[in-house]
């Protein structure tokens, strides 16, 4: 009963996480928004709003998130400056620095939203991959994710901007492809849920093997979400007539992203092992926890898919 309750709380937390995060740029709208939401009474005081006094004051994550954001901004600004410098000097040294920054950007950018980290985590909860496999899956996700971003960027550059009157950029054009990707993710998540519920549970010694056929759509569903960082870098460089440098930069972004996603995967493997080890004295308990973690991973994937999908509208 307690576990079911806790599980429900976890899901509610996930829902609140996702509804809070799957948003689009607050600046953009298709048509002008009239300021009807502004107050029109004489006092302009919202009496009911009293600022919460009981907020926890220590925010380690907040500092990490903000540091990461500042670092990414710094990298992007340097990148933009270097690209501008290269346009005038054509120096090989600047190209090397651009590629190095692309690699660093890949590492830190993939700490941001998406990039398959939560999915590799869900997958590891559901399956039992070894470290090397987790790394190879991570790099597969990073590669497909970045190439998907590259394809979108090239689509923006060569198709949308050539054949439509509106100017598409990295900021306003990846919604449709994201919707398709999240739809695929829902289907894979439902399949994994089905597998977690109806698959026969084996004994402690008898470890389940990863189904390679299942792995391909999993990696595709995650990786097909176009990497916003790649789109930004490639479209930016293309706008400065440096498309070929943008395309080569994608290789270095992949190398950087793979490191971050692999790190999350490895942490997840050891976390899961720790949890299961703690319960291994009791085989019944092991079975239940294994089932719970599998179901939890599958449910996560489905819910993320559904909510990301909704979030794109």
């Amino acid at each position: 009963m307690f576990k079911k309750l806790l599980f429900s709380i976890v899901i509610l937390n996930i829902l609140s996480l996702i509804t809070g995060f799957s948003q689009s740029n607050p600046l953009f709208s298709d048509t002008e928004v009239v300021d009807t939401l502004l107050n029109s009474d004489s006092s302009f005081v919202e009496e009911s709003t009293v600022i919460d006094e009981d907020v926890v004051r220590i925010s380690v994550f907040g500092k990490l998130i903000r540091k990461n954001a500042d670092l990414q901004n710094d990298i992007k600004d340097r990148f933009a400056q270097l690209a501008t410098d290269y346009s005038s000097s054509k120096s090989m040294k600047i190209i090397i620095m651009l590629f190095f920054l692309a690699f660093i950007y890949g590492v830190f950018h993939s700490l941001g939203p998406g990039h398959g980290k939560i999915f590799i985590f869900s997958y590891i909860l559901t399956e039992k991959p070894k470290v090397l496999r987790a790394i190879s899956i991570s790099y597969m996700i990073a590669t497909i994710h970045a190439i998907s971003g590259l394809v979108v960027a090239l689509g923006i550059i060569f198709i949308l901007n050539e054949y439509t009157s509106f100017s598409y950029t990295s900021s306003n054009s990846s919604d449709i492809i994201s919707r398709i990707s999240f739809g695929i993710m829902i289907i894979i998540g439902l399949y994994m849920t089905y597998k977690a519920i109806f698959k026969k549970e084996h004994s402690h010694e008898h470890k389940s093997k990863t189904d390679k056929k299942q792995l391909i759509p999993f990696v595709l569903s995650v990786g097909l979400i176009p990497c916003p960082g790649t789109i930004i870098i490639v479209t930016f460089l293309a706008s400065m007539s440096l498309l070929y440098i943008g395309i080569l930069s994608v290789i270095f972004i992949i190398l950087g992203m793979g490191i971050t996603i692999s790190a999350i995967g490895i942490i997840s493997i050891f976390s899961k092992k720790l949890v299961l080890k703690l319960s291994s004295v009791d085989s019944d308990k092991y079975g239940k926890i294994y089932k719970l973690t599998s179901l939890f991973g599958a449910f996560l994937l489905t819910m993320f898919g559904v909510l990301f999908f909704i979030g794109t509208f």
């Binding site: 806790l6 709380i9 976890v10 996930i14 996480l17 809070g20 995060f21 948003q23 740029n25 607050p26 600046l27 953009f28 709208s29 298709d30 048509t31 002008e32 928004v33 009239v34 300021d35 939401l37 502004l38 107050n39 302009f44 005081v45 919202e46 009293v50 600022i51 919460d52 907020v55 926890v56 925010s59 994550f61 907040g62 990490l64 998130i65 954001a69 600004d77 933009a80 400056q81 941001g112 939203p113 998406g114 939560i118 985590f121 909860l125 100017s167 950029t169 990295s170 900021s171 306003n172 916003p228 930004i232 479209t235 930016f236 999350i264 976390s271 949890v275 703690l278 719970l292 996560l300």
Partner: protein, 193 residues
């Protein structure tokens, strides 16, 4: 065990979902009239890469300037929606939130490849002879956009009838994004002479 899983999940998911995508450096000028603060002049300077996107979208003649007709488009399609986000500006007087009266004077410029928005938030913060605390926090609660208030802010316009001290803090009372991010907040302790 579920608790451990829960903690691990929250840890990883928090790391996994850190925004932002766009960066703004904000400047604020606090304008007084005879009754208190009646206007906030806002200046938002965007990062270079997002600026480049805005230029591609709205600088139709590619002359690296926004003409009047282009500014109309910027306002309609890349600014007006901020009404749903209170223009990222939150005014709080002694713990009570003051809603904006109106927004005016929008313009956008390009300078060395960087786009800047200028606009006024018209408000009505009454300040009497007793000291009052006025907070002006600047942030996007969705954290799609990271907003930092530049050092040296705020500036003041016509403050002669008022005595004030001011500072910028990271205000934990207005924490957002899972209560993890503390926004930059200008704090004024002010009263009328």
């Amino acid at each position: 065990m579920s608790k451990i899983l829960f903690i691990i999940f929250i840890f990883i998911s928090t790391l996994s979902f850190s925004h932002p995508h766009v960066f703004i450096k904000a400047d604020v000028t606090v304008c007084y009239n005879e009754t208190g603060i009646n206007k906030l002049r806002m200046k938002y300077t965007f990062d270079k890469i997002f600026s480049n996107d805005l230029m591609q979208m709205f600088d139709k003649n590619k002359n690296k300037k926004f003409e009047a007709s282009e500014i109309v488009q910027v306002k309609a399609k890349a600014f007006s929606n901020l009404v749903n986000f209170e223009y990222f500006v939150y005014v709080i007087q002694d713990g009570r939130k003051i809603k904006h009266k109106s927004v005016s004077g929008f313009r956008a410029t390009i300078n060395n490849g960087v786009v800047t928005y200028y606009f006024n938030i018209n408000t009505n913060v009454d300040i009497g002879n007793s000291p009052t605390e006025v907070k002006i926090a600047v942030y996007d609660y969705s954290y799609y956009i990271n907003v930092d208030v530049n050092k040296g802010n705020p500036k003041f316009e016509d403050p002669d009838d008022f005595i004030y001290v001011n500072k910028i803090i990271k205000d934990y009372k207005q924490a957002y994004y899972l209560k993890q991010i503390y926004p930059d907040c200008i704090v004024l302790d002010v009263y009328k002479l």
